[in-house]
């Protein structure tokens, strides 16, 4: 299967007054057609910046400094701003974390949807309106015709996120990047939205990158999982494998810190310490200060290893009988 998106050695840095902040450092991965990939990490690990880098939406002082982002074989980083704009929202769409903030409070839902249709093709206003209405219906918003005239503050958080999803679906993109779209919502609404996105992705054959800090959500949704730590992907593989037999100590640490994943009666084991400040990361493996398995060799940079469809960066991976 040829991947729809291939990210090669991507680095995004922020040039701050106190030094260079390496938000993403040499990240490579691929997303297959119709594949759902979960991108997991703590806040500050660079997972959201990865999403924004793909769409070319990194705000200054941040900048993609090196690498390639091949979308259907074409390097997005080489595109002109105008050409990039024809990709954004049409071929690759994004859903943001906080639905209360993603819609413009002073423009009606209809305006914000219709302008998205009109931005990518010569369509009549009437047709743009009809497509917007259909998209709202698709995501389960009752009486979409009337709701087009409404303003964001008249919707609940869950409904606003549905509107954002409807906007992302308007052009039936090949890839949707969802940046923690359920984090800001109530638990019951979370699962509804989760289910909705999964259904729509399957229905329209869209690939999906699901960014989250919540392993449980990703486990329920994704085909493959990538774990990010301090700007690097430390482990990647099929969901089942990674969650049951993690190779990287950070992944196993994350798993034993999740209440639902730890069997009843066994203590939760939080990872000791804090993630290092992005301005002063230790050389070599950034996790070594918090890692029980670390040795002197970890002061040098671990290279990605690939074994049995699993990729990880560690000198001392967990060994499982099957491996």
């Amino acid at each position: 299967m040829t991947p729809i998106l291939e990210v090669k050695n991507l680095s995004t840095h922020f040039m701050t007054r106190r030094g260079v902040l390496k938000a993403i450092d040499d990240v490579s991965f691929a997303v297959g057609q119709k594949e759902i990939v979960g991108l997991v990490g703590e806040s500050g690990s660079g997972k959201s910046i990865t999403g924004f880098s793909i769409l070319g939406l990194v705000d200054p002082p941040g900048r993609v400094v090196s690498g390639q982002i091949l979308f259907k074989g074409e390097d997005l980083l080489k595109l002109s701003p105008a050409a990039m704009r024809t990709i954004r929202g049409k071929r690759i769409a994004m859903i943001f974390q906080d639905p209360m903030m993603t819609l413009n409070p002073v423009l009606s839902i209809g305006t914000q949807m219709i302008e998205t249709v009109l931005a990518h093709g010569k369509v009549s206003r009437a047709e743009a309106w009809a497509r917007s209405r259909d998209a709202l219906g698709l995501v389960g918003i009752p009486s979409p015709e009337e709701r087009l005239d409404a303003y964001p503050h008249q919707f609940s958080g869950g409904m606003r996120q549905r509107v954002a999803i409807a906007i992302a679906l308007l052009h039936r993109p090949d890839l949707i990047i969802a940046d923690e779209p359920t984090t800001a919502l109530d638990v019951t609404i979370q699962s509804q939205i989760l289910f909705e996105i999964k259904r729509l992705a399957a229905e329209f054959g869209m690939a999906l990158i699901w960014i989250s800090h919540d392993l449980g959500v990703v486990a329920a949704l994704a085909d493959r999982i990538m774990v990010m730590y301090a700007g690097k992907i430390v482990e990647a593989g099929q969901v089942d494998g990674v969650l049951t037999e993690p190779r990287h100590p950070y992944t196993s640490g994350l798993l034993s810190a999740v209440p639902a994943a730890v069997p009843r009666g066994e203590p939760l084991r939080p990872i000791p310490g804090f993630a290092p400040s992005p301005l002063s990361r230790p050389s070599g493996c950034a996790f070594r200060d918090r890692c029980a398995r670390a040795t002197d060799v970890c002061a040098t940079e671990p290279m990605p290893e690939i074994a049995a469809g699993r990729e990880f960066r560690c000198f001392h991976p967990h060994l499982w009988s099957v491996a």
Partner: protein, 324 residues
Amino acid sequence: MTVFVIRRFLQSIAVLLVTAIIVFIGIYAIGDPIEMLISPDASPAERAQVITSLGLDKPLWQQFLTFAWNALHGDLGRSFVFNRPSISLIFERLPATLELTLTGLVFALVLGIPLGLLSGLKPNSATDEAIMTGSIFGFSLPSFWQGMMLIMIFSVWLGWLPSTGRGQMGEFLGIRSSLFTLDGLAHLILPAINLSLFKLSLVIRLTRTGVRETMPLDFVKFARAKGLSEKRIVFVHVFKNILVPLITVVGLELGSMLAFAVVTETIFAWPGIGKLLIDSIMRLDRPVVVAYLLVIVSLFIFINFVVDVLYSLVDPRVRLGDAQ
């Protein structure tokens, strides 16, 4: 919406009442109303007549009722100097002041918004730095001195523009204004610039702050992620959000410009209510001063009311507030 307008209207009335009380106290309780409101050259008979008509021999609260009653009927006393009702003197000169103020406001907006956008979209660039320093300079310039310098340069040295008066007036749609003749326009330019410069700085800063606060918001990024053009993002998404605070402040500043017109009118001998006020203060023509204060405060409160209603039209959160 209706509820909002009614509530806002009642508030305006309350503020007006409070101000009327303050002005009343200023004249009747702190000062000596006989000295303030009766011409020094009045005969004893005239004095007695005014004292009874104003009820100055009655208790203070009754005096206030008389004052308020008269004010409601547009009777704010007679000018000593012109021997005419002071309110009609004010209304005669009001159009000149409004013409000047509105022209100044338009100047400030037409120049200020683009400069503020320019500055806010490229924060900390050389352009931004220059515009911002310029705007600090703008509001540091004492407006009366700035007006004098305009006269010195453009009237005295270069001789390009007239420096006093309103010039010839034209009539259009029944409105007489300097805006409709070339001579009138020439007379209007310097005073309008003088009045607008101070507000220009404010408009620039407001627009810039608005842009800078709005640009990093998620909905702007989301608009980019939708593939909208930068033009649409700035002029529709960002601008409509800035419009709310801009309308509020600019509306309020219209009132302050009306007050500042006193300075401009004095310098450029513009025959508006501001010049009338200063002349009346100098001639101790106090009924006119009192009338000016009440009229300008009413005008000011009226403007605030209109601004709030406009504001609610722009911001759906306010407009639809009572539907929730």
